[in-house]
Amino acid sequence: MSDRILRVNAYTTFDTLDAEAQGHGFAESALAVLDVTAPREDPREVTLALELDNASLSTLPAHADRVRLSAAEARELAAELERYAGRVEAAAEE
C-alpha cells in the first residue's frame, strides 16, 4: 500500500470518519480523513479534502479527492450541513 496522501496532524479537521466509495460495479468502505482548510497566505478559496484509508481499498488506488470552494460556496455548504445536522438531531430526540 502507499503512504497517506493527506497530512494528518492536530489541525486536521477529522482524522477518523466512516466513508464509502461507490462506482459502477463496486462499493468500498473505509475509515477516512476529511480536512477543511484554506491557504495561510492570500486565501482565495476553501479546500475540502477527503482520503479513504488505502489499506482498506481493493478496487481504487491510493488517492485523495479535493474540492475547492469560494467563500460563498463554503458558507452555503456550512448552512446545508447545519440544516441537515438539525434534522438528524431532531430525529434523534424523537
Binding site: 500500500m1 502507499s2 503512504d3 497517506r4 496522501i5 493527506l6 497530512r7 494528518v8 496532524n9 492536530a10 489541525y11 486536521t12 482524522d15 477518523t16 475509515l31 491557504p39 495561510r40 497566505e41 492570500d42 484509508d53 488505502n54 489499506a55 482498506s56
Partner: protein, 594 residues
C-alpha cells in the same frame, strides 16, 4: 502576495527579535497583545522558543543548538542546571519526573515548561559558557548536524568538524542568510559510515575524493533537497559538485543564497528546498549556482564513499549503525556511546553525565542523531571505572536492541501538531519488547521510530519499523493508533519504509511487532537483515501486512484515549478545563478575559 509569516518576518526578524523577547520577558507573558501572539510566537522561534500546545499557554519549549552535537567541557553541567531550575512544569511526567533534557534527532537540546519571564536569565547562563538558542528554530540555518564523533573517528575520511564549525560561525547570525523562505537543514559528513544522515537534509556535504591536477584531494560531494516532512519525503539529490574543505563553506553559502532568492515564499507548504529541486532538477540548480552565485566553475563530483555507509542503514555491513558502545578514537583514547532511551534524561542524570565526562574524559559530551550521548576522550586506563559507574546501568553502552533502536518525537505531551502520545509510549514499547521478544540470531540492530504525526520529527520513514500517529475506533471508542511501515533506512541506496498497516490501535502495536519478528525469523534467508528481507518481499504487500498482524497482548496502554484533548496527558485531572495555564513563573494563574 506573501504569507502572514513572511509579512511578520518583513516587520521584525532575525537578531533584533531578542530585544522584543526581553521586553516581553520583563513585562510578562500577558503583555503580548492577544492579536499579536501568532506573530511573536513565530518570531520567537528564531531565538529557539516554541510556544507549547493548547492547554499549556505561556509555556515554551526552548531549543539549544549545539553544532555537530558537540557540548564543550563545562556546557553539559549548565544544561543540567538550567533544566533543573527552569524546565519544571505544573505537573510531572510519570516516567521522567520534572526537569529533564531531551537530546534530539538534530543533535540539539530541548527543554520544556519554560516561562518567557525566565528567558533573559536562561540566556545569560547559557551564553556564559558559549551555548546559544539562536536560530535553533525558524526560517534560517538550523543547527548544523554531522557525524557526532567527527575529528575523533578512526573511520574519518576528511575532517567534518572543522567545516561544521565554519558553517556555524559564518552563517549563524549572518544578515544575508537569516531570513530564508523556510528552515535550512545542513549536514556535514566526513566519515565512511554516513553518520551525518545527509540524505535527509536540505544541504549535505558528503566525503569524497577528487583527482585534481593529478593529485587525489579529499573533500566533499554536495547533495541538496532532502527532507521527510509533509508526506512528501525526499532524499537529497546529487548536485554533481565536489568542493575542497577550503571551498565548502563558500559554496554552502551560495546554495543558501540561491534558496533565499528562489525558494517559494508564497506557500510555506511548498517552500522547502526539496520542492525547488523537484521543480528545477539538480541540473538547473547547478547551472544557476555556477552562473550567479559562485566565482568560477564548479568541479564535478568526486568519488564518494557511499558504498561503505552503514549508519542507520538497516544492513548488517559491519560498520556502525549508531554510536553506542566503546570505540577507539584516532588518538588512542576511547569514546563511550550511551543509550538514552527516546533521548530523555533527567536533570540530575544530566549533571551526573557532566561529572563523568569531566572525571574520565575531557569534559566533552556529544549528542547523536539517534538521541544518544557520547562521552569522548576516555583513556584506556579509565574505561573500566567509567563502565562501572551506576549511571551506566540506566544509560547503557551495551543495551538491549529494542531500547538501543528506539527513537521518538515529543508527541502530545507538548507538541501542537502531534495527535498521539510518543516518548512515554515508546519507552513502554521498548520495555515490553525487551521482556517478550527475541531478535533472530545475528540481528543486533533493530530501529523503531515513533512520530506523532506526518511532520516526521522522529524520522519514521528511515527505520526498520516506522510508527506514525493516527486514530481509530476500538470497541466503539476513539483510540490512539499508529500506521506501520517497514524496511526503511539510509546507506548507499536509501529507502523509505513501505507502509503496510494503517490505524493499528496503540495497544496492539507491540503484538504486531512480535508477530512481525516471529515471521521474519521463520521466513528469513541466512544472514539476511530485516531491511533486505522487506526489500525481497516489497512486491508482496499482503504478505508483509499479514506478518505484521496486530494483536492484543499483556501490554497495557494507559494513554489509549485521545491525549491531544487533555491539557497534559499525565495530570491527575487532565481535562482541558483543569489547565493551570497561562501561569506566571511561580505557578500562579495569569488573569485572562475568558
Amino acid at each position: 502576495m506573501p504569507s502572514d509569516v513572511e509579512r511578520w518576518k518583513s516587520e521584525v526578524y532575525g537578531t533584533e527579535i531578542r530585544e522584543h523577547l526581553f521586553r516581553f520577558a520583563e513585562a510578562g507573558w500577558d503583555a503580548i497583545p492577544d492579536d499579536e501572539r501568532d506573530a511573536w510566537f513565530e518570531r520567537f522561534k528564531w531565538w529557539g522558543l516554541y510556544h507549547q500546545r493548547k492547554g499549556q499557554e505561556s509555556y515554551f519549549m526552548l531549543r539549544i543548538g549545539t553544532p555537530n552535537g558537540v557540548l564543550e567541557p563545562g556546557q553539559t553541567d549548565v544544561v543540567a542546571e538550567v533544566a533543573a531550575e527552569y524546565a519544571t512544569g505544573p505537573a510531572a511526567n510519570p516516567i521522567f519526573g520534572d526537569g529533564y533534557v531531551d537530546w534530539t534527532t538534530r543533535q540539539s537540546i530541548q527543554l520544556h515548561w519554560i516561562n518567557l519571564e525566565d528567558v533573559p536569565a536562561i540566556f545569560e547562563r547559557l551564553e556564559s559558557v558559549g551555548l546559544s538558542t539562536r536560530q535553533a528554530c525558524g526560517d534560517s540555518w538550523r543547527n548544523v548536524v554531522g557525524c557526532p564523533v567527527a575529528g575523533k573517528d578512526r573511520h574519518e575520511h576528511v575532517d567534518a568538524l572543522a567545516l561544521a564549525h565554519e558553517l556555524h560561525e559564518t552563517y549563524k547570525g549572518h544578515e544575508e542568510h537569516s531570513n530564508l523562505p523556510r528552515k535550512w537543514k545542513v549536514s556535514v559528513t566526513g566519515c565512511r559510515e554516513g553518520c551525518g544522515q545527509g540524505d535527509i537534509n536540505d544541504l549535505a556535504f558528503e566525503p569524497a575524493t577528487k583527482s585534481i591536477d593529478g593529485e587525489a584531494v579529499r573533500g566533499f560531494n554536495v547533495r541538496v533537497g532532502g527532507g521527510l516532512a509533509r508526506n512528501e519525503p525526499r532524499f537529497a539529490r546529487d548536485l554533481d559538485v565536489f568542493v575542497t574543505p577550503g571551498e565548502a563553506a563558500a559554496v554552502g553559502g551560495a546554495i543558501s543564497a540561491l534558496f533565499r532568492d528562489h525558494g517559494d515564499r508564497e506557500d510555506r507548504f511548498s517552500a522547502r528546498m526539496k520542492f525547488l529541486v523537484d521543480e528545477w532538477g539538480p541540473g538547473k540548480i547547478r547551472r544557476v549556482l555556477e552562473d550567479e552565485y559562485v566565482d568560477g566553475e564548479l568541479k564535478t563530483a568526486g568519488e564518494d564513499l557511499r558504498g561503505d555507509y552503514s549508519y542507520n542503514s538497516g544492513y548488517a555491513t559491519g560498520g556502525h549503525a549508531d554510536h553506542v558502545g566503546v570505540h577507539e578514537q584516532v588518538d588512542g583514547t576511547y569514546y563511550v556511546g550511551l543509550n538514552v532511551l527516546v533521548g530523555r534524561m533527567g536533570a540530575g542524570d544530566t549533571r551526573e553525565l557532566a561529572r563523568l565526562a569531566d572525571e574520565y574524559g575531557s569534559g566533552e559530551v556529544r549528542i547523536t542523531q539517534r538521541q544518544n550521548v557520547v562521552v569522548t576522550d576516555v583513556p584506556e586506563s579509565e574505561l573500566d571505572d567509567l563502565l562501572d559507574e551506576p549511571l551506566l546501568d540506566d544509560y547503557s553502552p551495551d543495551p538491549n536492541p529494542f531500547t538501543r533502536g528506539s527513537v521518538a518525537c515529543t508527541g502530545t505531551e507538548f507538541c501542537s501538531l502531534s495527535i498521539v502520545e510518543t516518548k512515554n509510549r515508546q519507552v513502554r514499547y521498548a520495555r515490553w519488547l525487551k521482556e517478550n521478544v527475541e531478535l533472530p540470531d545475528g540481528v543486533d540492530d533493530f530501529h523503531v521510530h515513533l512520530s506523532g504525526c506526518t511532520a516526521s520529527c522522529a524520522q519514521p520513514q528511515i527505520a526498520d519499523v516506522s510508527l506514525r500517529g493516527m486514530k481509530t475506533r476500538k470497541d466503539g471508542e476513539a483510540v490512539e493508533a499508529l500506521d506501520i511501515g517497514l524496511g526503511g533506512g539510509l546507506g548507499e541506496d536509501p529507502r523509505f519504509a513501505s507502509w503496510v498497516r494503517q490505524r493499528v490501535p496503540a495497544d496492539e502495536v507491540p503484538g504486531a511487532i512480535a508477530n512481525l519478528l516471529s515471521g521474519f525469523a521463520e521466513h528469513r534467508e541466512d544472514g539476511e537483515s530485516f531491511r533486505a528481507f522487506v526489500e525481497r518481499h516489497e512486491d508482496d504487500e499482503a504478505f508483509l501486512a499479514e506478518l505484521c498482524a496486530p494483536e492484543e497482548t499483556d501490554y497495557e496502554d494507559p494513554m489509549l484515549h485521545n491525549t491531544k484533548l487533555t491539557w497534559y496527558p499525565y495530570a491527575d485531572d487532565d481535562g482541558m478545563d483543569a489547565s493551570p495555564a497561562p501561569a506566571h513563573p511561580d505557578g500562579s494563574p495569569v488573569a485572562t478575559d475568558d
